[in-house]
């Protein structure tokens, strides 16, 4: 009997007949996300006449694109059976380190490099505590979340640090009419989608998340895979932090505050299974758009922010209930 995690709810019918092909394709959490996305677009249009404007939605997406990029990697971490709540704080700390260095006269490319390296180091600390010391990732990353943001506050105080004019405005760069951060998000999604869905490494991530013991018996180096994933989250979070610095033109310790909720929400809404072993990049990709549609739809309709909190919290709960339900119905 495995004592790793609470066992997933098992389906009652072990010998059920093979499901029809349309069910295999359509009865998936991602389908739910897609349907919600379409409903969200209609609801947004009904709530406010100013909502359905492609360039506005794209501009709004840039505000969430940094979180969305991290959420894509976080999806892979969750599939591997771990979680990381620290990347939003990581974004703040690496951006603060970057901004502080360039203010102290370090050339921008070097400052960016150190910022990215510090992101990697934060990922490495998480990995050390989770893999090396065998501590649960959820509590470790709650601790490092507090620590990283606290260190950012030590570096930057309550001040904001400016970045040079020429570095500002990544969101104003257009590629074929689409803001660069959105393009980057799509590219990262494509790359990670291929890695997760089409490579041996990707398949091993699923196996580690389904049963780490079985994966190890099958010769998969579970620890190494998790290490790579934690480092990747750290690196992408640092990149996202520096992108945010370019978008805002200044850095403060509270950059991305509360972003961990949004990132987890994107992964969960996209049908990633919280106990590991299931989920897709496509799901998180769709969920990121869903979240942006829902948030901006409510903001542009001047809906109270309180209602947004309620809707986001309810969406999170409903999406895991639905995901669990779908997974327990389809075979294990």
């Amino acid at each position: 009997m495995s004592t790793l995690e609470t066992p997933a709810p098992t389906s009652g019918h072990d010998a059920a007949p093979a499901r029809p092909r349309w069910q295999v394709v359509l009865v998936r959490p991602e389908t739910m996300t897609l349907i919600l996305l379409i409903l969200g677009i209609f609801a947004g249009g009904l709530l406010s006449p100013f909502f359905l404007d492609i360039s506005y939605i794209l501009r709004s997406f840039t505000l969430y694109s940094e979180f969305a990029m991290v959420a894509l990697v976080l999806t892979m971490v969750i599939i591997a059976g771990e979680i990381d709540l620290s990347p939003a704080a990581n974004m703040a700390l690496s951006a603060c380190i970057f901004a502080w260095l360039q203010q102290a006269g370090v050339p921008i490319p070097a400052a960016v490099a150190v910022g990215l390296a510090s992101g990697l180091a934060m990922g490495a600390l998480n990995a050390f505590m989770v893999i090396g010391l065998q501590l649960p990732s959820i509590i470790v990353t709650i601790g490092t979340l507090t620590l990283y943001r606290g260190l950012a506050q030590v570096i930057a105080g309550d001040k904001s640090i400016r970045v040079p004019e020429w570095f500002i405005g990544i969101d104003k760069i257009m590629v074929a009419g689409i803001p660069l951060p959105v393009v980057l998000f799509v590219v990262v999604a494509l790359v990670l989608g291929i890695v997760l869905g089409g490579t041996i490494f990707g398949r091993q991530i699923y196996q580690v998340g389904t049963s780490e013991v079985a994966a190890r018996h099958a010769g998969i180096r579970a620890a190494r895979i998790k290490l790579v994933l934690f480092l990747l989250v750290g690196l992408v979070a640092a990149t996202a932090g520096i992108m945010t610095a370019s978008r805002l033109g200044s850095v403060r310790y509270d950059l991305g505050l509360g972003g961990e909720l949004q990132m987890v929400l994107m992964a969960m809404l996209g049908g990633t299974y919280i106990f590991g072993g299931r989920g897709t990049i496509l799901g998180t990709f769709l969920a990121a758009w869903l979240l942006v549609i829902v948030s901006t739809g409510m903001i542009v309709a001047n809906v109270l922010p309180a209602v947004q909190l309620v809707v986001l919290g309810a969406l999170l709960i409903v999406s895991i209930i639905a995901t669990n339900f779908i997974y327990s119905r389809t075979q294990r």
């Binding site: 009997m1 004592t3 609470t6 066992p7 709810p9 505590m129 010391l133 065998q134 501590l135 649960p136 959820i138 509590i139 470790v140 709650i142 601790g143 490092t144 979340l145 507090t146 620590l147 990283y148 943001r149 606290g150 260190l151 506050q153 030590v154 105080g157 309550d158 310790y253 909720l261 987890v264 969960m268 919280i274 106990f275 109270l304 922010p305 309180a306 209602v307 947004q308 909190l309 309620v310 809707v311 986001l312 919290g313 309810a314 999170l316 709960i317 895991i320 209930i321 669990n324």
Partner: protein, 333 residues
Amino acid sequence: MNALRSILLRREAGIAVMIVLFCLAVGAFKPQFLTLDQLRIILLLTPLIMIAAMGQMMVIVARHVDLSIGSILGFSAMVSGMLYRFDIDWFGFDVPWWTGIPLSIAVGAVLGLINGLLIQLFRLPAIIVTLGTLSLYRGMTFIISNAKQIDRQWIPSELKGLSQTSPILGIPWIIFIAFGVALLAYVFLNHTRVGRQIYAIGSNPTAAPLRGIKVTQVTLLVFTISGALAGLAGILYASRWGFVNPSNTGSGFEFQVIAAVVIGGVSINGGVGTVLGTVLGVLLLGCVAAALPLLGIPGTSQAAIYGAVILIALVIDRTVRRQGIVGLRRVRA
């Protein structure tokens, strides 16, 4: 000799030693830290955290976690605050000052029960459910209050008096309430069957039902208690600070409480943890919070220190469990 050794090697002894060393170190720089007056300040910083920590401790012992307590605190404080504010409009008379206490506890219990039901009926992970209800309950606090603060003038002075007046020795009521809750938690966990069952569920969730433990009922009870205690902390927030704000009241509270519980030696893997350890963990946090301004350490370093303390406590906890007393000795050396 052996009895002394076994006391000294217990986890609680380690925290107690840390508290003493910390206080002596601060006292070396600022002698006024080692006065009765300062003890009063430290104790007054901790009652809300201590009360909620008792509930959180039970949740963690049962191998769950409750991230929503800060929002439960805010919501239940707001319900009582609105009762004080609008009682004449609603009922045509002034409600007695103590009405808010049972009301907040009941409201908190209901919200905690909702957490438990979602977790137990749908077999969902507590961390995600309570992350969702953290946002949900906070949003509801804004909605019921129409985003308006309950000002000091509406909080009954008898209620505020709980944090200021004292039955004995100049120690305010609120501190007695906190230690009373801790005492009840101790009796409940150590001397009742249900209390022991919480430990059994946490140490081995799969074996617990085989031993005839009603896991669902006990888990629901644990979350209800956690919510009820967060509700009690909510009405005491109104007493201590004299206002209820929809956005500030209770926000970030969950991190302080979880930090205190983890520092107090409650294992996040479930099944392990004592009331004494949790009380000491709360007091250690209180000492740190009171010492920082006295030493002139800027508030901006506070979060980093908290984060570091949590991680160190985790590492110590892991070392102790893996290597027993030897590990503890090695860490201390």
